[in-house]
């Protein structure tokens, strides 16, 4: 009892004495999704990468708009079509005091691609590249074919110290080994409870404002919001769209919003001849697949009022989409516009395609993956029914949805014929969605891995192939735009709906540079 009393007193005293001066230097964040590991090469996924970039730096950094800027490499250039040279920053030290040099880069690139337990490895960015050390501060990268995406790829791999050769994710998680060159040092991580970090004073970049950052995982949205309103946390991410209108009126809260690189769109089965979830308008089996006809795909796009979805379903927090990436991104087409809502034109096209009475279809979608996903599916089903495509909405948890909605090549196409999904372009340019969503399925090339409708157009493939081998930025941007105009425009291989807009909320006086990659980064939260 005596001991307990003393402890209580001590804790109370500590709370009183720390509270005033600690406040302005400490940022507490309520985070919607916790990382699965601190090891930066374990799991290539947003929630992990956003934490990793506090502790680790990359050769090339991506700012909040995914523009590339010098990181641990001060400059880089292609010396010829297949060789790149990176000049490294001098005088950088890891958190454990060891020096940063070319060996660390070589080691990190090897580890990123070969982590034995990785749940989604960084091999995606390191494969096909040979890294050689020219001197301590110069690294040369060679590829077999011209490879323009080199800087983008390397802006995704975090650099760890080659002193930590034998350490895998466990030792990163308990803090024994999470030594990077990033702006923050790991203090402790208790899974599901708290992640704490302090500022690293030897950081080579701009000094972050917060001395200490405490991250609390709160994955229930109402609870996260309550934690902000009650003052337990200073800043939260993933604010639900339904609460935004109310929060705007709250004088104690400041919202930060920004468009993301994630597009929400529809895939249509363009492979099967007898799609199992579609029937003729009077319920008989179909003799051919209507979605193979580009006029039907166009009609679907015309029948959807994107403005209405954005306004009513998304509470105004989304931007109607006409192509793969929102404005401001590299390689975007200036010709593709958002499809106008035109139900009469859609009916006409359907009739031209031989379906004057429409047909029946089922639109599948997840109900816990994207913002308001189930509601969007329902809205679209109603809009399509209005032009004669009698659509049944069917939504389910993502754990069930994605298994059945996945294509494994022509031998095993996706079970759904018509589905709503989303895609975030972490590279910040359209080559990744073009390759994965619209490129003809080809296992050896790694194309079409998420081409759930098995869309295929050799003309677009050829242009994309050319783009992926063009090092000149202007020429490549034009080729990517052209490929998008064919794949999304002429062919309507997918139906783009909208770009997600993400919302963060903080106490009055805290602003956040809303990131297009949807990440929540403590050093981008600044007092104004």
């Amino acid at each position: 009892m005596q001991i307990r009393k003393t402890l209580v007193l001590a804790a109370a005293a500590a709370a009183v004495s720390f509270a005033p001066q600690a406040y302005a230097q400490t940022l507490t964040i309520g985070l919607g999704t916790e990382p699965t590991s601190i090891d930066p090469h374990y799991h290539n996924l947003g929630p992990n990468n956003q934490i990793a970039q506090h502790f680790f730096s990359r050769l090339i950094e991506q700012d909040h708009k995914q523009n590339l800027s010098p990181g641990l490499a001060t400059s880089w250039k292609a010396t010829d079509d297949t060789t790149w040279e990176f000049k490294l920053r001098k005088g950088v030290k890891f958190h454990d005091g060891s020096d940063f040099n070319a060996d660390d880069v070589l080691f990190s690139m090897h580890r990123g691609g070969n982590h034995p337990n990785a749940k989604s490895s960084f091999g995606l960015y390191t494969k096909g590249k040979t890294f050689t050390k020219v001197d301590d501060y110069t690294v040369r990268v060679t590829t077999a074919k011209p490879y323009p995406l080199m800087p983008v790829d390397l802006s995704s791999v975090h650099i760890v110290s080659d002193q930590e050769k034998d350490k895998w994710e466990g030792e990163y998680n308990n803090g024994k080994s999470a030594h990077g060159t990033g702006p923050y040092k790991l203090v402790k991580w208790v899974k599901g409870e708290v992640l704490e970090m302090v500022r690293y004073d030897g950081y080579h970049g701009a000094k972050p404002h917060w001395k200490r950052v405490v991250i609390k995982p709160i994955n229930s949205a109402p609870s996260r919001l309550a934690a902000l309103l009650s003052g337990d946390v200073d800043f939260i991410d993933q604010v639900p769209t339904v609460d935004i209108a109310r929060l705007k009126k709250n004088a104690k809260v400041e919202l930060s919003q920004g468009v993301s690189n994630r597009i929400i769109y529809l895939h249509m089965d363009q492979y099967r001849d007898n799609p199992q979830y579609m029937k003729s308008h009077d319920g008989k089996p179909l003799t051919k697949n209507p979605m193979k006809d580009v006029r039907v795909r166009k009609a679907i796009s015309m029948a959807i009022s994107r403005d209405l979805i954005v306004d009513r379903v998304m509470e105004g927090v989304a931007i109607p989409a006409g192509q793969l990436l929102p404005e401001g991104f590299f390689g975007r087409s200036s010709k593709l516009m958002v499809q106008k809502y035109d139900p009469e034109g859609a009916k006409k096209l359907l009739a031209e395609a031989g379906y004057p009475n429409g047909f029946q279809a089922t639109l599948h979608g997840p109900n816990n993956r994207y913002i308001n996903d189930a509601k969007i599916v329902e809205a679209i089903a109603q809009m399509l029914t209005r032009i004669g495509i009698k659509t049944t909405p069917d939504t389910m948890p993502k754990s069930v949805f994605f298994k059945r909605g996945k294509n494994k090549g022509p031998a095993k196409p996706a079970e759904w014929n018509f589905q709503l999904v989303g895609w975030g372009s972490s590279t910040g340019e359209p080559s990744s969605p073009l390759r994965s969503l619209l490129g003809t399925y080809d296992k050896t090339k790694g194309w079409g891995s998420s081409n759930r409708g098995l869309h295929s157009n050799p003309v677009m493939d050829k242009i994309l192939d050319e783009a992926l081998a063009t090092v000149d930025d202007t020429k490549r941007a034009a080729l990517l735009a052209k490929a998008t105009e064919i794949g999304v425009g002429e062919d309507q291989g997918i139906v783009p709906l909208h770009y997600q807009v993400n919302t963060w909320a903080g106490k009055k006086g805290l602003t956040f540079k809303a990131r297009t990659d949807e990440r929540t980064v403590a050093y981008d939260v600044v007092p104004n």
Binding site: K119, S121, G170, K191, A227, V400, S426, S449
Partner: protein, 325 residues
């Protein structure tokens, strides 16, 4: 008694084995963990590598065989999501859940029994009607709504208590506990009350029903006639008899508190096992789901055993069979 306990423990091993088969088969029917793990941009080659690294390229019966072989050596497999031992991850979360469950159980006993006995003895009084009405509310209001209301009122509006998370912890006998610090205690109150509300109502009802039945029994009348004080009649003779159903139900409910305090833990972001299992089910982290359910089966078996033993202590008429079951 010893033989009885040994027999029960051996039965429980069989139960755990059957359970492992059912759960393992069950989770293998649902979803594709690889789809939950890999980045969108991963190509076909990368997906295949992940499938191999998690052993999912083998048929399910081979996977189950490997699992059983490893489990026999105490290795319940590595979490797909965290890459660490599933058992270790669960054990790490255990203290938080036990702390919460024990706090709720304590409240159920300390608040529920006196109120129940009082309203059983004075069933016509106004206060006992208030108690009964309150217990109806405790039964019928959904936990998650009450939890959010608690947060709204006590954290957001009044600002008395923190809204979410677990407070400061100190180490006690090698386990991190939070009830020994003021900060920890203040974090514990809301979720514990939220979790206890239903149990308090349940105990009130059981205690009241028991009291009303027993108070008219001959042995109570006899005790009164003998001239025993009211206090002694209630505390000893009555209490001992109403405790039997209360202990049985609380025992089972305690297992439920540990295993399925999912809602409260999610609403209050309490870093316990309930939150872990929900996250694991959503992320299709099969090894954690299987290990968790096996541990929960063990917990239930142990609690039932303790309840049986407590029975024989409370009610001498119940004899545990030593020789044949």
């Amino acid at each position: 008694m010893t033989v009885f306990i040994i027999r029960r423990l051996m039965q429980s091993v069989l139960v755990v084995f059957v359970m492992s088969f059912l759960v393992f088969g069950g989770v293998n029917l649902v979803g594709d963990p690889v789809e939950m793990m890999v980045s969108d941009e991963a190509d076909q080659e990368e997906r295949e590598r992940v499938i191999r690294s998690m052993g999912l390229d083998k048929p399910w019966y081979v996977q189950y065989g490997l699992f059983v072989a490893n489990a026999a050596q105490g290795d319940l497999g590595k979490s797909f999501v965290y890459g660490e031992q599933a058992l270790g991850i669960i054990v790490q979360r255990m203290p938080a859940t036990f702390e919460l469950a024990l706090a709720a159980l304590l409240m159920a006993i300390v608040i529920g029994i006196p109120l129940g006995v009082y309203s059983g003895l004075n069933s016509e009084s106004r206060f006992s009607k208030v108690i009964m009405a309150g217990s109806i509310l405790g039964f019928s209001l959904p936990t998650f709504w009450v939890g959010l209301m608690f947060i709204m009122v006590f954290a957001v509006m009044l600002g008395w208590l923190p809204s979410t998370g677990r407070g400061e912890t100190v180490e006690l006998l090698g386990i991190n506990v939070s009830f020994l610090t003021t900060n920890g205690l203040s974090h514990l109150i809301l979720p514990a009350v939220n979790l206890a509300l239903f149990k308090i109502s349940l105990v009130i009802r059981l205690a009241r029903a028991g009291t009303r039945e027993i108070v008219h029994m001959d042995f109570i009348k006899f005790a009164r006639a003998k001239g025993l004080s009211t206090q002694r009649v209630i505390m000893v003779h009555l209490m001992k008899n109403i405790m039997i159903p209360v202990v049985t139900v609380l025992g089972l409910e305690f297992g439920g508190l540990i295993a399925f305090s999912v809602v409260t833990e999610t609403v209050f972001a309490w870093p316990g096992m309930g939150k872990l299992i929900i996250d694991s089910i959503q992320g299709l982290d099969r090894p954690v789901i299987v290990a968790y359910l096996m541990i929960i089966v063990l917990v239930f078996v142990v609690i039932n055993l303790v309840v049986d033993v407590l029975y024989s202590i409370l009610d001498p008429r119940v004899r545990i069979q030593d020789v044949k079951g």
